[in-house]
């Protein structure tokens, strides 16, 4: 047990009422850590152990990290099975996720990644902005998605992205993709 720097110490044995589905989530997180450990171990088998003068080669740390993550993952699973993670704070925000809103924001980020080289930084970021605002607004329970609002958001996105683009490409010589080769859009 650690001296908790947080001003509101959580109950040491964490007997909070469990949120529905949290146990499964905790198990999955532990399994995820085990998964990363397995991937690291698999990769480590193909790394040379040539140690030179050092006694340990480039495959030493990979094995250490893999083993440590395996231990951490097992302990996380153990904690999840025996009453949940210890010293947990109740996470902030709603107990259930708004997956619909998350999908909109995710679509914004992923489309941005897909389109940035084709339609240029300004348009791509404006699109990302529009989609993300729509999702975030929906998560607040406000009306989202009518045409006027969408157009307004797209314009706002452009008004943010365009000066950023000019500032970074012209003044700071950072390379960002444009739609045309004029350097303005």
């Amino acid at each position: 047990m650690n001296p908790s720097p947080s001003p509101v110490p959580s109950s040491p044995d964490s007997n909070q009422p469990p949120v529905a589905g949290r146990g499964v989530g905790q198990l999955l997180v532990g399994a995820g850590a085990l998964g990363v450990a397995a991937v690291l171990a698999y990769g480590a088998t193909s790394i040379s152990s040539d140690a030179g003068y050092a006694g340990v080669g480039p495959n030493f740390l990979p094995w250490v990290v893999s083993a440590a993550l395996a231990i951490c993952g097992s302990l996380l699973i153990f904690e999840a099975l025996t009453g949940g993670y210890r010293q947990m704070d109740v996470p902030s925000g709603a107990p259930r996720g708004d997956w619909h809103a998350l999908a909109w924001v995710s679509a914004g980020v992923l489309l941005n990644a897909t389109l940035i080289t084709t339609i240029g930084f300004i348009l791509s970021c404006a699109l990302c902005f529009t989609l993300a605002v729509r999702g975030l607004r929906a998560s607040e329970g406000k009306p989202a998605g009518n045409l006027r609002q969408t157009v307004m958001d797209a314009v706002t996105g452009m008004l943010i992205a365009a000066p950023v683009y000019w500032l970074f490409t012209k003044l700071l010589a950072v390379n960002l993709p444009g739609l045309s080769s004029t350097g303005w859009i």
Partner: protein, 497 residues
């Protein structure tokens, strides 16, 4: 002594050129702004701006980044006091008393004591950095790979095991960061590790990418997913002013806070959570009985003054290990280290010799920045508070645009943007299950350095692990690591028995 003074004057000459003053002002203003805005910290802001290192000369950009680092601390307290949503972990404690003071109509006094306290602590801490950093650097030249490795081990232990609530989750985060750090080409043998044949992984995973993903993108995703209905009510701002009694109650707290904060910043114990909390506890204990009743009820000014000073002193002090040893003790310091690496500058004891101009200009700019920030935050605080009126959807969506600039601008790869999204999702899971993120960043950036030091140390020891125990300095450091790991457990065990 004269030597230091001369070099500092030289630093002022560099930092005082109009262009560098402008960079400092831009950094301070931007830092205050992002400190005020919830959801953006100095680490991720500097990370997003790292691409400018391609164009801007090192001294100017370090002055700019340091301004952001500092400014965010000043701005963060404004948000804590008015909104009760600390943007930075270091201002968490400020929110305790500051928010209560503001609720009872004393927002102005709370803002004043935090700004002036930050100035006092920042300036004293900068003087201490000026005096001690060169001495420590001279001493640090004598440290060899075994000692460095043990120091890094200490940084790993404290950042993951001491900070945060659960050692297990801290360690998991640390080892995940170390795993990310393994990707790419091994520094010593040029062996390729964990690239899975993907070209983009050859250069390794950039700390910028991880910081922007884990902080900025996570913030946007987490807010969409969970925080949509969380309402924030803002306290009213009134005249920023302290009465004579409030001055009298504040200044001893500032000095005590500085004394507590500075040492914590210099040791690799990471972050300003512990010193701010210690300072809060000390002020609560030392307050006059008449004032003690104010703690936790209407808000006690000592409870804002002390932790704010401790926070700024600790933040300034993180520059000591960063500049003299090349060891970052906070996430922002880790990003600053990678900014230096971008310029091919190796932070470490040689830095004072090889890049003396830069270091002294940076230190001088801290003095200048503190004055700028006092002006920016006292008379102009009303201006910054207006930033809090930006609606959340537009704020977080806008952050995504800046995240794109930072990540794509780094090496023009759309692949990095997908990776950034993946890390954003990972960050949501980590936040939901209460995993700390700082160990990931520290593990990622210090991991490769620590591995190189370890293998060099073993070469010195001709393959024998005893090299870490045979050298007195390194053995001492190892003992400290063990103490840090064991003591809290022993204490807990004794309490239970």
């Amino acid at each position: 002594m004269m030597d230091i003074l001369n070099q500092l004057l030289g630093g002022f000459a560099t930092a005082g050129t109009p262009i560098n003053l402008l960079w400092a002002l831009a950094g301070c203003a931007l830092g205050t702004a992002i400190g005020v805005l919830p959801g953006l910290g100095p680490a991720v802001t500097i990370a997003m701006l790292l691409p400018i290192t391609g164009q801007v000369e090192p001294t100017a950009s370090m002055i700019f980044f340091a301004g952001i680092y500092y400014g965010a601390m000043y701005g963060g307290s404004t948000t804590s006091i008015l909104l009760n949503t600390p943007g930075e972990t270091g201002t968490m404690v400020t929110a305790l008393e500051g928010f209560k003071m503001a609720k009872h109509g004393r927002a102005g006094a709370a803002l004043a004591t935090s700004a002036i306290g930050s100035f006092v602590a920042g300036t004293i801490a900068t003087i201490l950095v000026t005096l001690f950093a060169p001495i420590l650097a001279k001493f640090a030249v004598r440290l060899g790979p075994p000692e460095y490795f043990c120091l890094m081990l200490l940084a790993f232990t404290t950042v993951s095991a001491v900070l945060g609530k659960s050692t297990l989750r801290g360690m998991t985060a640390l080892f995940f960061g170390l795993a990310l750090g393994l990707v790419g080409i091994d520094q010593i043998t040029a062996q390729v590790r964990y690239t899975g044949g993907v070209m983009e992984f050859m250069d390794g995973i950039e700390v910028v990418l991880v910081a922007v993903g884990l902080f900025a993108v996570t913030e946007a995703l987490y807010n969409a997913l969970y925080e949509g209905r969380s309402a924030n009510d803002m306290n009213k701002l009134n005249k920023v002013h302290m009465t004579r009694t409030e001055w009298r109650r504040s200044w001893p707290a500032w000095l005590r806070g500085t004394a507590i904060g500075f040492p914590f910043g210099t040791i690799p114990a990471g972050g300003s959570e512990i010193p701010t909390f210690l300072s809060y506890a000390a002020e609560r204990k030392l307050a006059k009985p008449a004032h003690q009743a104010e703690f936790g009820t209407v808000g006690a000014i000592e409870g804002v003054a002390g932790p704010e000073a401790a926070n700024n002193a600790a933040v300034t002090a993180t520059l000591v290990p960063l500049l003299t040893l090349g060891i970052p003790t906070s996430v922002t310091a880790a990003i600053l280290l990678s900014a230096l690496q971008n310029y091919g500058i190796n932070a470490g004891p040689q830095l004072f010799q090889t890049s003396g101009d830069l270091v002294w200009a940076l230190i001088a700019s801290l003095y200048i920045g503190n004055v700028m920030l006092l002006v920016l935050n006292l008379p102009l605080v009303g201006l910054w508070v207006k930033l809090l009126k930006i609606p959340k959807p537009q704020l977080y969506a806008g952050i995504l645009i800046f995240a794109t600039v930072g990540v794509y601008g780094m090496r023009q790869s759309a692949f990095d943007l997908y990776l950034m999204y993946g890390l954003g999702l990972l960050g949501v899971v980590m936040r939901r299950y209460d995993f700390p993120t700082a160990p990931v960043i520290v593990g990622l950036i210090l991991g490769p350095l620590a591995e190189a030091q370890m293998r060099n140390a073993l070469s010195i020891g001709e393959g024998s692990w005893w090299v870490f125990v045979e050298r007195p300095m390194s053995a001492t450091l190892l003992a400290v690591v063990v103490l840090v790991l064991v003591t809290p457990r022993l204490l807990a065990w004794r309490r239970r028995a």
